[in-house]
Symmetry: C2
Subunit: 368 residues, 2 copies
Amino acid sequence: MKQQLPGGVIRQNRKLADGRDIFYYDNSDISRDAVDTRNEVAQPGIGHLRLDVLVNEWVAVASHRQHRIFLPPKQLCPLCASTKDKQTEIPDSDYEVVVFTNRAPALTNPGENWSLPQLAGLDTPNPDAAGACEVVCYTSDHESSFAKLSVKQIRAVLEAWKDRDKTLSTLSYIEHVFPFENRGEEVGVTISHPHGQIYAYSFIPPRVEKMLSAAQEHLKKTGRVLLDDVIKREIKDERRIIAKNSEWIAYVPYAARYPFEIHVAPLRGVAHMNQLDETQSESFAPIAKEVLSRLDGVFGIEMAYIASWYQSPVSIGQDCMRLHWQIVSVRRQPGKLKYLSGSESGMGAFIMDLDPEQSADQLRAVKL
Amino acid sequence: MKQQLPGGVIRQNRKLADGRDIFYYDNSDISRDAVDTRNEVAQPGIGHLRLDVLVNEWVAVASHRQHRIFLPPKQLCPLCASTKDKQTEIPDSDYEVVVFTNRAPALTNPGENWSLPQLAGLDTPNPDAAGACEVVCYTSDHESSFAKLSVKQIRAVLEAWKDRDKTLSTLSYIEHVFPFENRGEEVGVTISHPHGQIYAYSFIPPRVEKMLSAAQEHLKKTGRVLLDDVIKREIKDERRIIAKNSEWIAYVPYAARYPFEIHVAPLRGVAHMNQLDETQSESFAPIAKEVLSRLDGVFGIEMAYIASWYQSPVSIGQDCMRLHWQIVSVRRQPGKLKYLSGSESGMGAFIMDLDPEQSADQLRAVKL
């Protein structure tokens, strides 16, 4: 069955040999009927969550993941389309955008009657690691990157994100949906094919919890939405703005934590990705391409980055939290990385080695 | 003037050519009178703090640090003792343990009348980046490591930590003292000479804030100290204990976030490092050596790690927070690192690829 999505994107749901879901998202009406003929063993079992009582944070223990695939050579890439000689994760011989369930998911469907236990310090039980981990392949072209995708292709990726956000948000055991991309070996990417991931958590992740609390406090104090005010300040200051169109703005945040950190947000705020309307969705690709091209242009090398979509949790915060995209690069100079060491990792206290305004200057100076 | 410290350690305070402090800590009574004859320019200015309003966290902007020294070859190591031909950061031709002010400190003395502003969302002013950044050289032997230090030498390091903790805690602009070590290029170490650092913050760092809040809640609910109860559970469970002596215990925590994570705590809890008594101080070196040797033994390679001392802030939390040492290694297999990517870095949600019990088994199995 074909599902028509906004932007002319068509979704087709299929199954992999081991029962995992795979979704094709296409700009054209093409049938995706190739069958996964691999002899697949059953999926690994579910992990569990443990409460770190020192900070009241959940840790997902997923010991079945240790032996997952690691930097395969191109001819063994599991994210390329299948060929006669080689079956990959994508049964078809070509694709535009696909999403499928991670082969070694840290978080997965817990079955019936799962619920997150109340925090009770050392007496907190260990629930199954409920949630979802999905892989989002941006293109069948192994050598491409998000920045190099066509506008039409980025729209298909966006529709895939929106579609999965919408569906995952309806699952009883999902509390927060997080689309992201790790890019570059420097941030631990184990497969170089252009792709991102979606993690859907059964709890509010620690950083979102902090954002929620700051946004709630701001709403209570001022009656306004925090991100709206943040964007107002960026527009007023001007100096950190990197790119702007009728619907989106991109800036180095006032208190950037990384030498190259860019936030991208819709000017008309929405709480969830799946609430982006047609105009917003259509205007996303140009700014996304510009921002990522500027990032690659700073040193003339493909920048390693982590690109994270922040939005409101599923069941709380829609009144005060707003969707935005934070792209952080761990590179501070051509031969130097920004590491999360003692202060950042041990204390959570970031030291930023570059003025955010200087970082914005460098990003704006890139000739596209 | 020589200051007698516990454990027979003697401290001598000196100045570097540019006015920075240097402290020698020696096990023997030797005079450290060598003079720093370098032509030194004045220290770089002070950075500032910016509030990241999305999460209510301070970020230290220290743009003068960008060009700090990066992996110098051994013959140019600034942490070796000085020779006739080469003046380093340590004027003397030999030393046991030294502490000196970082040449490019992210946090520094703000002068008179500094105070941290109240958080006021987007209206929060930018204070000077008050605090201290110090370098702790563990030994003059460039090729050594903390694990290889003699028991006597580790005692001198501990006395240096205690002494600096005590002094820094008295400064009006210091709210939290954090001794730590980054070891290995994998965690961004720019100088391979065995050394650690002390960061002293003018605010409660985010991770300590979370620890404080969890500890306060536990005290309120149970009347007990959280870390005491954590240690009780570890002793009862047994399975994650790595090493123990009459005063200290070392274990893989129940909710470990890294494949190899070890916590080391005194059995008789103290809030601050400088409160460790003679018996505790004397028993620290053997367990520290054992734990770090086990870590290096797991794969037979020098493990990259971040070793962080957690303690109570200066002015709050002494009733509920307890000193302990968290050592986390980013290595998960000989050729594989654990990266803080999307889930950890973007969401603060850790995925642990190894059962903590399995990790403890591997650490215990190391033949010393």
